[in-house]
Amino acid sequence: MANTKTPQPGLAKRESAPADPDLWIRMYQQMVQIRLFEEQVNDLYKTARMPGLAHLYSGEEAVAVGVCNALRRDDYITSTHRGHGHCLAKGASLDRMFAELLGKAPGYCRGKGGSMHIADQDTGNLGANAIVGGSAGIATGAAMSAKMRGADQVTVCFFGDGALGQGVLYEVMNMASLWKLPVIYVCENNLYNEYTHYTETTAGELTARAKAFGIHAETVDGQDVRGVYEEARQAVNRARQGEGPTFLLCDTYRYYGHHVGDIQRTYYRAKEEEDFWRTERDPIKLLAGWLVEQQVSDTVTLDQMMADVRAEVAAAVEFALAAPFPDVSEVDQHVYA
């Protein structure tokens, strides 16, 4: 059985006071944006205003935000079925995201993709993917392309602990290491493959899998956006300088069910565990506490920011609800380029 570390409450000590206070404030805002976006998605589902299901990212915000802030706009990401946070952190706009989730014409994919398939070329988002591990090849191929084109773009491949079961990941990690491709494999270990704890499906030390290919691997507290950002920054530097891939294991947790319909969860995880992560390990609370402690901001200002984001999210939902559906004639458009 793989190792199960007991998560610790609070933040690990980190030396430096913030180099750029604005950066931390921006990350706070982005994490809040993702959190409130997802709460709204859950509400749309519960009030039967959203078709289908969605996999919420709440609780994992520090991973997407920490990693994407280390990237340039023209760097690439690939995302997963739990992808809203990645898309937003890479720069997607709230209104077009909601529109896509509702299957509306102004959505990022004109309603063709939905929650699990949001792609946005303008922000370097090569697409969320509903096949577990399905984007490992795409991400590594994008990194290979950057190298062949002589561009210094970096690609981040986000995936969950469950994707460690997919063979294609190991085929492409081998090639990425052989050919020193500028790709970062970001494994979001939220402890569960759907309804099964990862220790029941994943043998050995997780980072050892990457190390076996000679890939630089790090483990980071995925609830500490400062730590995630720092590790991602180093990985991006290595990739841009032609030093090859990195594997970044982020320990994190999802607050809601596997998808919005997964309400009864006690058969696979304890209420106490959920409560612990929400109260002691919440990435937004942790960053807020640190910002106040470092006197970068104060609670009044942070609360105001949250209220502002809440208003933005509400306006974006209104936009999406009012937006038209695509014309039915679009159904057979875009099958071929």
Binding site: G52, L53, G103, K112, G167, T196, Y267, E330, D332
Partner: protein, 341 residues
């Protein structure tokens, strides 16, 4: 292989209950596991979770985690394990959560499972069942909505089963598990709550025997899986205007009950084939060709086909609903074919 002439054996035909298709699948698997200790189930979240559609709920409580095995998310791996276990005395049931994922296991199916018996000169068998899904309109988008049963129907050595009622599901599953060849069963994920009569007692349904779901004289509608209900609704519409439609469900893509399809078309002189797979190069093309070849001199009109639109399944409900055959569209096509449009 089971012989198409076998009849249903019902020990207690009187005690009939209404159960859902999901319950019927579960019952069949549970009964076979009680009967035969070599049967086991492996797949993602099959144990405590009982699969995302809850089809296998309760099985791990009865059979334990050594026979209801939660696997990593490793579809090619578990299918490969299944082939090996089947070759060496076990009867694995491989659970592939969505039919769209058969792309991942295609080598294990097409190059391994399908060929072992033949390549070994008949010495080795692969008594393995793969259970998976088909069907759109769940708003699940392009990678979770396809009906890909044509892919495996193309491969000699594989048998392909598409139950359309709880009764058929139970009887066909029992045959699948007892069969000595690899079998892939596609369940329509929109049909799990469909209720139907199922006898308490033991019965099996042989492969290669079509089910006549409705008798008729004017037109034959050959329908598979999810499309059987669509065809039955269309048949009711047609009856209102005096057209008597016969609905025939082949139940297994291979072995295929060509005779029943051809006889029905000969009797009615018109035929439509409807299936939820992509229309082009699909199941409808094969079945239409069988009817055209076998009933040519009896037909009053060309055999017509209706499949899913040849596009990736879109997410937006307004678009997705365009892509699958509906009772209304089928009714219209039937009317046209009968000169009543």
């Amino acid at each position: 292989m089971s012989t198409p002439s076998a009849t249903l054996s019902q020990t207690d035909a009187h005690a009939v209950r209404e159960i859902t298709l999901a319950q019927a699948v579960r019952e069949a698997l549970a009964e076979e596991m009680r009967r035969d200790p070599t049967v086991f189930i492996i797949g993602e979240d099959v144990a405590e979770a009982g699969t995302p559609f809850k089809v296998l709920s309760g099985l791990v409580e009865e059979f334990g985690p050594t026979r209801i095995i939660d696997s990593p998310i490793s579809e090619p791996g578990i299918t490969g394990l299944g082939v090996g276990a089947a070759m060496t005395g076990m009867r694995p049931v491989i659970d592939i959560m969505f039919g769209d994922f058969i792309g991942l296991i295609m080598d294990q199916l097409a190059n391994q499972a399908a060929k072992v018996h033949y390549m070994s000169g008949g010495k080795l068998n692969v008594p393995m069942v793969v259970r998976t899904t088909l069907g759109a309109t769940r708003r699940s988008a392009a990678q979770h909505s396809q009906s890909l049963h044509a892919w495996v129907s193309h491969i000699p050595g594989l048998q392909v089963v598409l139950p359309s009622t709880p009764y058929d599901a139970k009887g066909l599953y029992k045959t699948a598990i007892r069969d000595n060849n690899p079998v892939i069963v596609f369940e329509d994920k929109m049909m799990y709550q469909l209720k139907g009569s199922v006898p308490e007692g033991e019965y099996t349904i042989p492969f290669g025997v079509a089910g006549i779901k409705r008798q008729g004289t004017d037109i034959t509608i050959v329908a598979t899986s999810s499309m059987v209900q669509v065809a039955l609704t269309a048949a009711e519409n047609l009856e209102q205007i005096g057209i008597s439609a016969e609905v025939v469900d082949p139940r297994t893509m291979f072995p295929l009950d060509k005779a029943t399809l051809i006889e029905s078309a000969k009797k009615t002189s018109r035929a439509i084939v409807v299936d939820e797979g992509y229309e082009r190069y699909g199941v409808t093309a094969e079945l239409a060709a069988v009817i055209a070849e076998g009933a040519f001199y009896y037909l009053d009109a060309p055999v017509k086909r209706m499949g899913a639109m040849d596009v990736p399944v879109p997410f937006s409900p307004v678009l997705e609903d365009q892509t699958v055959p509906t009772p209304a569209a089928l009714t219209e096509l039937a009317k046209t074919l009968c000169g009543r449009a």
